[in-house]
């Protein structure tokens, strides 16, 4: 192909951008105006703006965008990376949205964190209209090509995904590398480790591509060749010491090899380079606490606490482990103060506040202050009963176990009954409950509790579903509103409640109060199971109603 470029391309129109909706995020007003002008020039009509990371996240939760252009540096509050992580983590954007990170220099793209939280592309300031147009067009073209394979992977149809990758690779599209990368992932998911390894080896003969080296390490790890996995990861870090995902994986490998001290050293190296990743700081805190390295544990956990303020990955364990670290160091008052801070930081989070209260109770028991310990455990029970579950079931099981062991079996059973009914189809949760009873030597009682509790819920859900099927939507809405009050944490009941409200509004008209309810139901489902099968469909129906 020979292209002769004689004059600058003056594309007065770019038809494939016209109908797109775009969100521009920057705290610098002039810059937003400049970008908006460029986009308007391409004929884009639907341009929204956000001045902060918080505003951006909230906009993306309400509306689907085809393209998000986000400056990395957003002043105080969330930065661009935290915005990206949060909207992906909460499923506010799917793989069909293009996320472009705008940066001031070309060093950002050298940082490679977790694969799932990487932007589609980087754009370096300043850029011209022509560059923006070219990049955006390429990205849309690329997304379009990947759509089929990504869907096949999401459907779990790996055979089809593999066939599609192979036929695209033969065509040598612009984003050939993406298809190679996906092919590796699909082969790995199919469990065909020998072929996966041969594939990565052939890619690495072209050069030391970080994703291929990571993939190769993953195969070696899966086939329990830990030393080989370690060698590959160490080589990768030697080529590019900013591939942060390699450090995290190397730490996992070293722990598996029974070398927790080495794993700690690796993570210490990683946080020195990239101190803002709080999940890594947390892992380092936990690991060094286990290694009895209190100074490092304290430093890492304090960093995790401090940086967690703006991140969706903040965690109560940062506070509870830190409290234990401080008490081990003999700093009792400071340790207790940390738990109080945690309580404040998570005041809206049921599981976190229960966990912190339980931890407080244990801390006071350690310090031999029985009255304070009792006060804390009572607080945990009261939170568990009065608020809907949002996070892990472990907390409820742990709390119930602690209660049963300490002689308050009635309260413990009650908490578990509620847990079962909110998760009546979740075999993992049901098994957890049964396991807890088995550990307590009460296997039959556990089985019995699970069976009766599950029956009650199924009857309730079937009744509501019947009303929807028969088209009695007014009654169905009333019924599900009540059901969600009884079982606020049951994802199926919440999803059905959202569905009934949506159907009602589709037949009548959107209603603000009902839209808010639907939003609450869907947020609950997201929190309970962000991969719930009907969630994308329900979300898009909700977004359609919001537009209408």
């Amino acid at each position: 192909m020979t292209v002769k470029v004689i004059t600058a391309s003056k594309s007065k129109q770019s038809p494939n951008l016209r109908g797109k909706s775009i969100l521009v995020i920057d705290d610098y007003g002039n810059f937003r105006v400049a970008v908006k002008n460029m986009l308007t020039f391409f004929g884009v009509k639907a341009i929204d703006e956000a001045v902060s990371g918080e505003e951006a996240v909230s906009k993306m939760s309400d509306k689907s965008y085809d393209l998000v252009m986000c400056d990395y540096n957003l002043g105080p509050g969330k930065d661009g990376q935290q915005v990206l992580e949060e909207v992906k983590y909460r499923n506010y954007i799917t793989h069909s949205t293009i996320f472009m990170m705008i940066t001031a220099d070309n060093s950002m793209d050298k940082f490679m964190g977790a694969m799932e939280y990487q932007p589609d592309d980087y754009l370096i300031k300043p850029f011209t209209r022509e560059i923006l147009e070219k990049k955006v067009k390429n990205l849309f073209e690329k997304k379009e090509l990947l759509r089929g394979v990504e869907k096949a992977i999401a459907d779990g149809d790996y055979e089809r995904a593999l066939t599609m990758c192979e036929s695209e690779i033969l065509k040598k599209p612009r984003n050939l590398a993406d298809f190679y990368r996906l092919k590796g992932e699909v082969l790995f998911k199919m469990g065909n480790y020998e072929e996966t390894e041969r594939f990565y080896a052939s890619i690495m003969s072209m050069g030391k591509l970080p994703w291929a080296m990571m993939g190769s390490a993953r195969v070696k790890f899966a086939t329990e060749r830990y030393e080989e996995a370690r060698d590959v990861l160490e080589q990768l870090i030697a080529v590019n010491n900013k591939v942060m995902a390699a450090y995290d994986f190397l730490a996992v490998v070293l722990k598996k090899m029974g070398k927790p001290l080495d794993a700690q050293k690796v993570l210490m190296g990683a946080v020195a380079i990239s101190p803002k990743e709080i999940r890594r700081q947390k892992e380092l805190g936990q690991l060094s606490y286990d290694n009895k390295d209190l100074a490092i544990a304290e430093k890492a956990l304090k960093a995790a606490v401090r940086q967690g303020k703006h991140s969706c990955f903040k965690s109560p364990e940062n506070f509870t482990i830190l409290a234990n670290v401080l008490i081990d160091k003999g700093e009792r008052e400071e340790g207790i103060a940390v738990l109080k801070d945690g309580n404040r930081e998570f005041h809206n989070d049921r599981e976190a506040t229960i966990q912190i209260a339980m931890s407080e109770s244990m801390v006071y028991t350690r310090l031999d202050r029985r009255d304070k310990a009792k006060e804390a455990i009572d607080r945990a029970v009261s939170i568990a009963r009065s608020q809907p579950r949002k996070g892990s079931a472990n907390i409820d099981v742990d709390l119930a176990k602690a209660l049963i062991l300490n002689g308050d079996a009635e309260t413990g059973r009650d908490i578990l009954r509620r847990l079962i009914q909110n998760n009546h189809e979740d075999t993992e949760v049901l098994d957890q409950v049964k396991q807890a009873f088995r550990n307590l030597g009460m296997e039959d009682e556990g089985q019995n509790l699970v069976d009766t509790a599950v029956d009650e819920v199924i009857t309730m859900n079937n009744e509501g579903a019947r009303l929807v099927r028969e088209g009695d939507l007014v009654k169905a809405i009333k019924y599900f509103q009540k059901a969600t009050e009884i079982l606020p944490d049951n994802k199926i009941i919440n999803a059905n409640a959202a569905y009934a409200h949506i159907l009602y509004m589709q037949e009548n008209k959107p209603d603000t109060a009902y839209l808010i309810k639907v939003r609450v139901y869907l947020d609950r489902v997201t929190r309970l199971d962000k991969n719930y099968k009907d969630l994308p469909k329900l979300r898009s129906m909700y977004k359609m109603l919001m537009l209408g």
């Binding site: 192909m1 020979t2 292209v3 002769k4 470029v5 004689i6 004059t7 600058a8 391309s9 610098y28 002039n30 810059f31 400049a34 002008n37 460029m38 540096n73 001031a104 220099d105 070309n106 060093s107 793209d109 050298k110 490679m112 980087y122 370096i124 300031k125 300043p126 850029f127 011209t128 209209r129 022509e130 560059i131 070219k134 990049k135 390429n138 040598k172 612009r174 050939l176 590398a177 190679y180 072209m206 050069g207 030391k208 591509l209 970080p210 994703w211 080529v239 590019n240 010491n241 900013k242 946080v271 101190p275 803002k276 960093a303 401090r306 940086q307």
Partner: protein, 232 residues
């Protein structure tokens, strides 16, 4: 801010860069709009506007290079390898530089097979090409040719012009290593930092035994300067 309590020099540098580049970006984009309006009205200061834009672009390249070189000095030069379509990288540079070069009546010729893929660091290589392309604005007569081919185990990216060519002190042919040492030569007026940067980028690309390098020669297909970047 980062977790370290004290501000390091690299933090200061990065944040100053951010501010400066925001301002440069505004200047650049405002100028672009002015040029657009100017073209409609065919006003006579259009050429000066392009000159301003050229200088802003140069400043911006210098800043990016400065930061990259600073980081390279502190650490190794980081490279992020992936498999790219070579044409994409060349096209991006052409799109970037065409308005400026065309304003001086310079014709750009791009020649690259559409199915040529190679493993390299996209933004570093683009930085090198961009820098050379930007220079041709000053040095070529009226033609620039940018091309890529595979020559045995190397990808070769060439930028040729029909200007007077490189001065002898900037020529780098065969195995000479003049840019490996002290890159700055103040008595010639040219700092050669751009070529030093090219050298760093070329050297950071290596595949097994083979190392990247570049050549600066005179002659070539257009009779002027010829820059060739070899990536294994």
């Amino acid at each position: 801010m980062e977790s370290q309590d004290e501000l390091t020099f690299s933090d200061v540098l990065a944040s100053t860069m951010h501010d400066t580049k925001n301002s440069l970006g505004m200047l650049y984009n405002t100028l672009e709009e002015m040029i657009g309006r100017c073209q409609e009205k065919r006003c006579d200061v259009q050429h000066e506007f392009f000159l301003l834009q050229y200088e802003i672009k140069r400043l911006n390249n210098i800043l990016i290079r400065l930061l990259t070189l600073y980081k390279a000095k502190k650490n190794q030069l980081l490279i992020n390898l992936d498999l790219h379509r070579v044409g994409d990288c060349l096209e991006e540079s052409v799109v970037q530089n065409a308005p400026l070069l065309n304003s001086r009546g310079i014709e750009i010729d791009l020649d690259c097979p559409g199915d040529l893929f190679w493993v390299f660091d996209y933004s570093l290589v683009l930085g090198v090409i961009d820098n050379i392309m930007n220079n041709t604005y000053r040095y070529t007569r009226d033609k620039v040719r940018i091309s890529a081919v595979r020559e045995e185990a190397f990808l070769v990216i060439r930028i040729e012009d029909n200007g007077p060519g490189y001065p002898p002190q900037l020529l780098r042919q065969g195995n000479s290593t003049i840019h490996d040492g002290n890159p700055v030569s103040f008595d010639t007026g040219s700092t050669g930092l751009g070529l030093y940067f090219s050298c760093l980028v070329a050297k950071s690309h290596n595949n097994g035994e083979r190392k990247g390098y570049f050549l600066t020669e005179n002659g070539g297909s257009l009779g002027g300067g010829r820059f060739s970047l070899y990536i294994p």
